[in-house]
């Protein structure tokens, strides 16, 4: 075949295909990079989770054990069920409080006339602090003679053992609320600013009070934003490692052994990369599942609107 024929064949074969799908040239590089950075590690996690893979041993030399790692998830010394339960309490506890508190403060802030900018600047501070630093600082605050108990004593509330088994998870929620409520405040405050005036004025003309205006106009318009913020936060909370590790390292006992801590122990302390991969994959699927529920809910609210 001559070179001319080859070119003609190519033109007949691929060129028209790409000519009609020009967008492939634009998204192609990004797709390849994403594939290498995201899907290959994910593929490795999936394959690794089906092997008895230990540190120092290449994956291809490890024994294939099928779904054994998944079957033993709850029976090994790091219990998936218990960790999941603690993660759920921590995650939904934090999310619930942050949402309510964030919404309330955002409404108050939107009704203020002058100091909005100042508060917005102050609220951003906890968000930008390194998580490990947040953990270490709060470890001091939560100690028996620390800041939290001092504040309680101002209200004549007796000192509490925040580092004990009973309140360890509550303390984690407290830290998360401190750090991430401002995130809700800032986003929801911005959302409140963009609500169009017409529907608000209309319901006012109909005689609605502030509460009714909020419930029947502002809240429905704000719902998509609330869902997006919740998705971002819940995924972040599920994989929050630094703060939990810096303050409690999963203890005392196993009272703060959330899923990321369990994964870390499987990898680092037990050197069971295969079992750790199984934990990780379930953690990823859990994040997807929760995001899926929220996104579905988001679609429904849009349809309603």
């Amino acid at each position: 075949m001559t070179n001319l024929q080859k070119i003609k064949n190519f033109k007949r074969g691929f060129a028209p295909f790409f000519a009609k799908r020009e967008y492939l040239f634009y998204i192609g590089p990004a797709f390849v990079v994403t594939f290498i950075l995201m899907f290959l590690p994910l593929f490795q996690i999936i394959v690794g989770s089906m092997h008895k893979w230990e540190f120092g041993k290449p994956l291809f030399e490890s024994d294939f054990i099928g779904l054994k790692n998944y079957i033993e998830l709850n029976y090994g010394y790091v219990s998936f069920g218990k960790s999941l339960m603690k993660t759920a309490i921590y995650g939904f506890g934090s999310l619930g409080i942050e949402l309510c508190l964030g919404l309330l403060i955002a409404i108050l802030l939107s009704n203020m006339r002058r100091t909005k900018g100042l508060f917005s600047a102050i609220f951003i501070i906890p968000i930008v602090i390194m998580p490990a630093m947040v953990g270490l600082t709060w470890k001091m605050y939560l100690s028996y003679d620390g800041l939290v108990n001092w504040v309680l004593s101002l209200f004549y509330i007796p000192k509490v053992n925040w580092m004990g088994t009973d309140l360890a998870l509550v303390s984690l929620i407290l830290v998360d609320v401190w750090q991430w409520t401002p995130f809700f405040i800032l986003i929801l405050f911005a959302g409140l600013q963009t609500i169009p005036k017409d529907p608000v004025d209309a319901i006012r003309v109909d005689g609605a009070n502030d509460l009714q205006t909020f419930l029947y106009v502002k809240l429905p318009l704000l719902t998509p934003l609330i869902i997006i913020v919740c998705i971002l936060r819940i995924i972040e909370i599920i994989r929050n490692f630094d703060v939990v590790f810096a303050i409690y390292q999963g203890g005392p006992g196993s009272s703060t052994e959330t899923l990321p801590i369990a994964v870390w122990r499987m990898f680092m302390s037990q050197r069971q990369v295969g079992m750790g991969s199984a934990f990780s994959l379930i953690l990823i699927l859990l994040s997807f599942f929760i995001a899926f529920i929220f996104i579905n809910f988001l679609k429904k609210t849009r349809v309603t609107h």
Binding site: S143, G253, Q270
Partner: protein, 436 residues
């Protein structure tokens, strides 16, 4: 006559000290001719021992031309990174600070090289200034696996009792001889402001570290290495955990989450009357610039339980990474930093003592009130070793095992589980690790 004797004595003294200085200088001159311009990276953790080593570096670099850079990180981070990446050539470390607990694994995983043959080379580690026989034998044995030396010890530690003299005197108490007496002292010493006892007891390896001190005095056991069998589910271990639970009310609030650093801080701030902790921390307690209780503390060997009085040895050593391109220079450097000739200087800079001649020196014993207790506790550790047992069993799986024991043990300590359940689960999981 007397004048002559004194003159001869001083001449002899000068000759000896000159000869000593000369031999160290000869050693360094030899290293300069061989390794000048070499750059070494030491991976270490924040520790008094690291401070001691760093104090010796300027002279070493000046006289050998070997440059040393330190990569200092947290203890957990160093151990994790070492175990995770030790075989990687991308990790450009030459020397690694190795915890005794992980040394069998280091050798098993081919992370470090055995040092034996290199240490026979007189240019790298000349017998006299280096002084192999002068290491505290128990500390050196921590880093010996089947006669192969994995690392050179430089921050050995044992666990002893530290107590506040003033508080003991006020109550008319003396150092407890038994663990029962220790508990009864704790009941008397606990106040709203001062905890009776502190120790590392947070979950994980730190729990196992401390629990292992109580296991053998209460007649317990951990592993039969020869039979490869977990021996954790026994009455002695149950009794030791029960005893630890009894101590919980006499510790500070949040005791269940105490680690070595919080425990050390409590003693230094005067918030605890007694401490069961590593001897390596005592130098910090007695530093008046850092500690409010410097000069107020006394030290004693560990009390006895129903089955005897035992302690253990732990510590840190310096090993050479297998993938390093500078094996000989690295070995010469760690031999120098841990050498007999430089150990006093290292101790003076805050490093924990690891050599016999410094520990046995009467001047040092007078200056450091914890040296005698260290020697006494080393005897307690030797007594345990004589029984064929150790607080750190020499298995490459110890790191995994101690984590399992430390989690279940902590759960039993804070009553998340019953002691019987914790021991049974622990035994099963440890056996699984041993069988793998």
């Amino acid at each position: 006559m007397l004048k002559n004797i004194i003159s001869v004595f001083f001449v002899l003294l000068l000759t000896i000290s000159y000869a000593k200085a000369d031999s160290v200088d000869d050693w360094l001159a030899g290293l300069k001719s061989k390794f000048s311009g070499t750059e070494l990276v030491f991976a270490m953790t924040s520790h008094p021992g690291s401070d001691g080593i760093q104090a010796l570096v300027p002279e070493f670099t000046e006289k050998t031309g070997i440059k040393i850079t330190f990569d200092i990180m947290g203890e957990g981070q160093l151990i994790d990174k070492t175990l995770l990446e030790c075989q990687s050539e991308d990790l450009k470390w030459d020397v690694i600070m190795i915890a005794a607990e992980t040394s069998p694994q280091m050798l098993h995983d081919n992370c470090t090289i055995p040092l034996n043959d290199y240490l026979k080379d007189q240019t790298l580690a000349p017998s006299e200034p280096f002084g192999m026989d002068d290491y505290v034998p128990a500390y050196l044995s921590l880093f010996k696996m089947e006669d192969q030396i994995v690392a050179l010890p430089f921050a050995g530690e044992t666990v002893f009792l530290t107590y506040r003299k003033d508080l003991f005197d006020a109550q008319g108490l003396s150092a407890p001889k038994t663990w029962d007496e220790f508990l009864s002292h704790a009941k008397k010493l606990k106040t709203d402001d001062v905890a009776a006892v502190v120790m590392r007891i947070g979950r994980g390896w730190e729990f196992t570290y401390m629990w292992s001190i109580f296991i053998y005095p209460f007649g317990g056991d951990m592993i039969d290495l020869e039979a490869n069998k977990a021996q954790i589910d026994n009455a002695g271990n149950a009794a030791s955990l029960e005893y630890l639970r009894k101590l919980l009310p006499y510790g500070p609030v949040g005791f269940e989450n105490y680690h070595w650093d919080t425990s050390m801080t409590a003693i230094m701030e005067g918030k605890a009357a007694m401490s069961i902790e590593a001897s390596a921390l005592a130098g910090e307690y007695e530093n008046p610039d850092k500690s409010r209780t410097a000069g107020k503390l006394a030290y004693a060997p560990l009390p006895a339980g129903p089955a005897g009085a035992y302690s253990g040895v732990w510590g840190w050593g310096l090993g050479v990474k297998k993938t390093s391109k500078n094996h000989e220079a690295a070995i010469a450097a760690i031999a120098y930093f841990t050498s007999k000739a430089k150990h006093q200087e290292y101790v003076n800079a805050g490093g924990p003592v690891s050599r016999t001649h410094v520990l046995a020196n009467p001047d040092n014993q007078a200056k450091h009130p914890y040296y005698q207790a260290t020697l006494d506790t080393l005897e307690q550790a030797a007594a345990l070793y004589a029984k064929g047992k150790s607080a750190v069993p020499k298995t490459s799986k110890w790191f995994q095992i101690s984590d399992v024991m430390g989690v279940y043990g902590s759960e039993a300590f804070v009553s998340e589980r019953t002691i019987a359940d914790a021991l049974s689960e622990m035994n099963e999981q440890v056996q699984k690790i041993l069988d793998d």
